[in-house]
């Protein structure tokens, strides 16, 4: 946390729209939309964020429906629930957390595109529940609504559709609720293809979400350290090393 007082979306307050800027942000309420801060982002227990988030570090104790990006580290604490992908040089998932998505342990090369905010969906009266993110907006429009050149879209964006069996066997009620609000699957390469084209993963058995039991989602999920050649640049301070005790047993 920086010395500046962190911003706070308290419990009981809902934001339909986007949040971005400088400093740290604590979300204890409900945010429907993307968040991007250059400081620490904390999603507290009891909070709900539906939208992609990006911070220097991201700590998840509440619920996030969307992708999480961090310049330094992402922590999903034991009370955290995440339906979406995580991308950061350091990722830590504490046992007890519920997580459905892919893990990309790698540095962010460019700022990831986040969901665009459409003011037409958020009028003062008669606010409907916002529609799910359209694939085009999620992939190709920045937080400010400016088109992003396709070649600048970061590599971690492609994701494989979630296996249907995972949805069917999902037993956690809360996660199921999130699932029902799932946006249509984005057009992206299959998971198999991603493995082939992402040699940075030390091993599929360790890096892939298959390490999580799809029925219980009780993750003894641990993210291995990135391969040496993909270590973050030296300027990136090292924060939140993956702890050894959470490491998935080899073999």
């Amino acid at each position: 946390m920086s010395k500046q007082k962190p911003s706070l979306i308290p419990a009981g307050v809902r934001v339909d729209g986007e949040i971005e800027g400088e400093g740290d942000l604590i979300v204890a309420g409900h945010v429907e939309g993307p968040i991007r801060v250059d400081g620490t982002l904390v999603i507290e227990e009891g909070a709900l964020v539906r939208g992609h988030v990006h911070g220097r570090t991201v700590t998840l104790r509440g619920a996030l429906k969307g992708d999480a990006y961090a310049d330094e580290a992402i922590q999903v604490q034991a009370t955290g629930r995440l339906v979406g992908d995580v991308t950061a040089p350091r990722v830590r998932v504490v046992p007890g957390a519920k997580f459905a998505g892919q893990v990309h342990v790698q540095a962010l090369e460019v700022a990831p595109p986040l969901r665009s905010y459409d003011p037409a969906l958020h009028t003062f009266t008669g606010l409907p529940s916002p529609e799910p993110i359209s694939p085009e907006l999620a992939r190709g429009v920045s937080i400010r609504g400016e088109p992003i050149p396709v070649d600048t879209i970061p590599a971690p964006a492609p994701k494989a559709p979630k296996p249907a069996s995972e949805d069917d066997e999902e037993s956690n009620a809360t996660t199921q609720q999130f699932r029902t609000a799932e946006p249509p699957p984005r057009e992206r390469p299959s998971r198999r293809r991603e493995i082939e084209t992402a040699p940075t993963q030390p091993g599929p058995a360790e890096a892939e979400p298959e390490a999580v039991d799809p029925e219980t989602l009780e993750p003894a999920l641990t993210i291995p350290a990135p391969a040496p050649k993909r270590r973050p640049p030296a300027r990136m301070p090292r924060v939140g090393r993956v702890r050894g005790e959470h490491r998935t047993p080899r073999g």
Binding site: S7, P10, V13, R14, G17, E18, A28, Y117, P119
Partner: protein, 119 residues
């Protein structure tokens, strides 16, 4: 409780460097030292220390910075240095020396607010 005395434990806060675009709603209090573009509907109080652009509806509103938009409030206070551009509907209005209101003020109106509003 007036807008000058926001003492809730969980006061929402938008820091000076933060921008929120969209609709903010809820039952808490909020202080905005940053920028808030969009509508605000709070059961509690809104303190504008930075800049707010958009319609505001709250139990109490205090303007120390700049607010551009229509205000519907139980109580409105524009403090010294504060500037409000927009029409006002409120049951109580305070304008400090050094503050300004540019717009129509309408105080004789039934407010579309809930409890805690009648005085």
């Amino acid at each position: 409780m007036s807008a000058r005395e926001v003492t809730s434990d969980a006061v929402g806060y938008v820091g000076p460097g933060l921008v929120v675009r969209g609709r903010v709603s809820g039952d808490g209090d909020l202080r905005c030292d940053g920028t808030l573009e969009g509508s605000v509907a709070l059961e509690g109080a809104l303190v504008v220390g930075g800049r707010v652009v958009g319609p505001v509806r709250a139990r109490a509103v205090a303007v120390e910075g700049r607010l551009e938009g229509a205000v519907t409030a139980g109580e409105l206070n524009v403090l010294a240095g504060g500037r409000l551009v927009g029409d006002v509907r409120a049951t109580r209005i305070g304008l400090d020396d050094g503050g300004s209101i540019q717009g129509t003020v309408d105080m004789d109106v039934d407010l579309p607010l809930g409890e805690g509003d009648a005085r």
